[in-house]
């Protein structure tokens, strides 16, 4: 698993986007190649699922790369925590390994992870220019791309 994640981690997410686009819109065509939803916006089950359906691949390509990054980060944090004094003390107290890992090490490694995850969630909604371009998704990234192309500097600046 670690080898897989190390392989995925450095790959730019737009490469992954093209792989997902080809895989899930052409070879296994279960996702739409463009668009943000079906039909007109409404509070209906059909519309809400269509938003999820259209947004799944763009979100996935961003999430996969970020997930790999977090797994590697988690491993580094865990290794550091495991060499901490309190872990050694817990081992000397003969606490079960599972308990040490779940209730001591994991809790401490989660702090920076959750903080980083919360901060990065904004990126999903703040516009992922390349992912939206590849999937023809009408999000803020697409608006930014259009603003750049059209020289609409005010619109572009407002997005920061």
């Amino acid at each position: 698993m670690e080898k897989s994640l190390i392989t995925v981690y450095p790959a730019p997410y737009y490469i992954l986007a093209f792989v997902l686009l080809t895989a899930f819109t052409f070879y296994l065509p279960i996702f739409p190649p463009i668009g943000g939803a079906r039909g007109t916006a409404a509070l209906t089950w059909e519309y809400i699922t269509s938003v999820l359906h259209h947004g799944f691949l763009p979100a996935l390509c961003i999430v996969i790369g970020a997930t790999a990054h977090r797994f590697i980060m988690a491993k580094a944090l865990t290794t550091t925590e495991k060499s901490s004094d309190y872990v050694q003390y817990a081992q000397m107290a003969a606490l079960p390994q599972r308990k040490i890992l779940l209730f001591y090490v994991t809790r401490n490694t989660l702090l920076p992870q959750v903080t980083d995850l919360s901060l990065s969630l904004g990126a999903l909604f703040g516009g992922a220019l390349i992912a939206e371009f590849v999937f023809g998704y009408p999000g803020i990234g697409t608006t930014m791309y259009t603003a750049i192309n059209n020289g609409e500097y005010r619109l572009f600046n407002r997005q920061f």
């Binding site: 996702f31 739409p32 079906r38 039909g39 023809g136 259009t146």
Partner: protein, 647 residues
């Protein structure tokens, strides 16, 4: 533990898309219609439109692409291949008096608006008066200006006949009502008159916002839904298609629903969508995406079933055009000639376009009719043409062997060339001769630095911006080819990609140095004046001002006395009874344009207008060319109306 996590992740990856996917059949279409895909015709909408919900199509600045064929009508359509009239709302040809100051038109009977009212002379009279008096903000295609210039007025001479009176003689007045791309769209007088009467003081039809639910049209379709982001539009067939014009002419009713989708500027998405059965026709793609379609969609085909596949006879051509008031160097014809000689046309046509389009050295496509009228008679003049490279050195720039070189490339590539090289690949073009180009730039005062870069007479690196819109892939690739070749030649080229709306706006106000527009000097019939009248200096607008409200075409910001003289001379000639004199003037116009290299024209249009027959059949093909396949033109309505379900 790790193995379990991986398995859980994989399971989630497979389950979520599958569940969501199952809930969303069919996958890629943005709307569903009653009867499903068998009732829905899906077409490529070419580019994204920013003004979806205002259908006041007569207003200046409203885009017309692809929906005018579905909804609007004028008097005549012009067959793009033969140049023949197709009578639309007019029952016959225009009838002029002896001095061409009056034009009578008999109207077709039995064509009905979607609310059941019959189209009649009142609609014509109202439309002309509204265009001339009720659109102070300007009208679509400069119609109000042209009607004004002709001193036009119209009167009803019967329920189904009208007569136009003109303030000056004009044997071509009818071309305002003759559509290649469009012609004056008729208004439902019984609807628009009420709208106009209800407007507040100070308001005009320029302020009118026509909502979809209020629309009444002569065409076969009405808009019923659309995406606010401009990605798609859904149209529904009228209840009585037999009363639409295309219904009367073709006898067909057309698909119950028509959906236009914009798949973005990446051509491959159109190929993917067609392979998924979610696109019935696309207007054009690049050669790679077309080949993908052939590989992945067995039911798809273009105009020909084999090389060169694409529809070759759209009456327009691609050119590198310049703002002559932009970079001062570009105002020098020697510089423009140097740029032309620095383009390798064989490489452009083969490596960038795929060997499909016809080559032409001036803004007239070598369709069979226009090749006979223009390219053939001007061939010897082109061969004999000489330009001055400086110090009295004269140079023959024309290479008549270009089609043979492209044919040789095609055969090397394994294609069979179906005809003579000139039939398939057009005419000759300019030599690829960078030595001659360098002499011309040196003549214009430029020099080279140690890195081979061209320097302006002031000693700065010469930088050239090219703007292009990717939705027209031939023009875009032509621009890319020119950028690559001019960069290799030592020019600092900046290639800028713009959305269609911005690109068009930049043209109108002259905010560009070089661009990739398209045009034809001649109509399909060969007549030139209607297409070049807009180049007259009277329509000149300086850079920074919009030329569109003036009713002409000042894209290049040129003002040339010789062109004005030729345009004026053509205007006074009857294109039918004085055909030879008209053509002689047209040839002189082409010669002047070429000698001064005002544009660098490269290729005629090719269109990989490609149809998938999985759901709908009856599309025009080279074997059955019943109607033009260009569905986004007004005349494209006949091909649409002629469709029937494959099943």
């Amino acid at each position: 533990m790790a193995r379990k996590v991986v398995l859980l992740l994989l399971l989630a990856l497979l389950t979520v898309p599958t569940l969501v996917g199952i809930a969303q059949e069919p996958q890629g279409l943005p709307v569903e219609v009653p009867g499903g895909r068998e009732n829905l015709w899906v077409f490529d909408r070419i580019y994204r439109l920013p003004t979806e919900a205002n259908w006041n199509i007569w207003k200046s600045g409203i885009h017309t692409a692809f929906f005018h064929a579905l909804m609007h009508e004028t008097f005549w359509n012009r067959d793009q291949e033969t140049g023949e009239f197709i009578h639309a709302l007019a029952a016959g040809d225009p009838v002029y008096n002896d001095d061409f100051t009056e034009m009578s038109v008999d109207l077709r009977q039995g064509v009905r608006w979607t609310d059941g009212e019959e189209f009649n002379a009142d609609d014509v009279v109202y439309t002309i008066n509204a265009l001339m008096n009720s659109y102070p903000g300007g009208t679509q295609s400069g119609w109000s200006v042209q009607l004004d210039e002709n001193g036009a007025s119209v009167e009803k001479t019967g329920d189904f006949s009208v007569m136009f009176s003109l303030g000056k003689s004009n044997p071509r007045f009818h071309t305002l009502f003759e559509s290649r791309w469009n012609g004056i769209y008729m208004m439902p007088s019984h609807v628009v008159a009420e709208v106009e009467a209800s407007m507040a003081e100070g308001e005009s039809l320029s302020d009118w916002h026509w909502d979809a639910e209020d629309m009444v049209v002569l065409g076969n379709y009405l808009p019923i839904d659309w995406d606010e982001n401009g990605y798609w539009q859904l149209f529904q067939r009228r209840e009585d298609p037999e009363n639409s014009l295309a219904g009367i002419i073709t006898g067909g009713s057309g698909p119950p629903y028509a959906l236009g989708i914009w798949y973005g500027n990446e051509n491959i998405k159109k190929a993917i969508a067609m392979s998924r059965g979610e696109l019935d026709v696309y207007f054009d793609v690049d050669i790679e995406s077309f080949e993908t379609t052939l590989d992945t969609t067995p039911t798809a085909r273009s105009w020909f079933t084999a090389f060169p596949w694409a529809y070759p006879n759209e009456v327009s051509s691609r050119a590198m055009s310049f703002n002559l008031e932009g970079d001062p160097l570009l105002a020098n014809k020697d510089v423009r000639w140097a740029l032309a000689l620095a383009i390798n046309i064989v490489e452009l046509q083969t490596e960038y376009i795929g060997g499909i389009a016809k080559v032409t050295p001036f803004n007239i496509p070598p369709t069979p009719n226009l090749y006979r009228l223009y390219h053939e008679p001007l061939e010897q003049w082109l061969i004999d043409l000489q330009i001055d490279l400086g110090d009295g050195e004269m140079y023959n720039p024309y290479d008549p062997t270009v089609p043979d070189q492209i044919a040789a490339w095609a055969e090397d590539y394994g294609h069979t060339v179906p005809g003579t090289p000139r039939d398939v690949f057009g005419s000759g073009w300019w030599n690829f001769d960078t030595d001659a180009a360098a002499k011309l730039l040196e003549k214009a005062g430029l020099s080279r630095n140690g890195s081979g870069q061209w320097l302006t007479p002031e000693g700065e690196v010469w930088s050239l911006d090219i703007q292009s819109d990717p939705s027209e892939n031939d023009a875009y690739r032509m621009g890319q080819a020119a950028a690559d070749m001019w960069s290799d030649f030592g020019i600092d080229v900046n290639f800028i990609t713009l959305d269609r709306s911005t690109w068009t706006q930049n043209h109108r106000v002259g905010a560009f140095e070089a661009s990739t527009p398209w045009q034809s000097f001649a109509l399909a019939s060969g007549d030139m004046w209607p297409n070049v009248r807009g180049y007259h200096s009277r329509y000149y607008a300086p850079s920074g001002e919009d030329y569109n409200p003036l009713g002409g075409n000042s894209l290049r910001r040129q003002q040339e006395t010789r062109l004005d003289e030729l345009i004026d001379a053509m205007e006074g000639i009857n294109p039918v009874s004085q055909e030879e004199e008209n053509l002689a003037l047209a040839h002189e116009f082409v010669k002047h344009w070429v000698e001064n290299m005002i544009d660098i024209t490269t290729i005629a249009f090719k269109k990989f207008v490609t149809w998938d027959e999985k759901y709908w059949t009856g599309f025009p093909t080279s074997e059955n060319p019943n109607y033009q396949p260009l569905y986004w033109f007004m005349g494209g309505k006949f091909a649409i109306q002629n469709l029937h379900p494959t099943s």
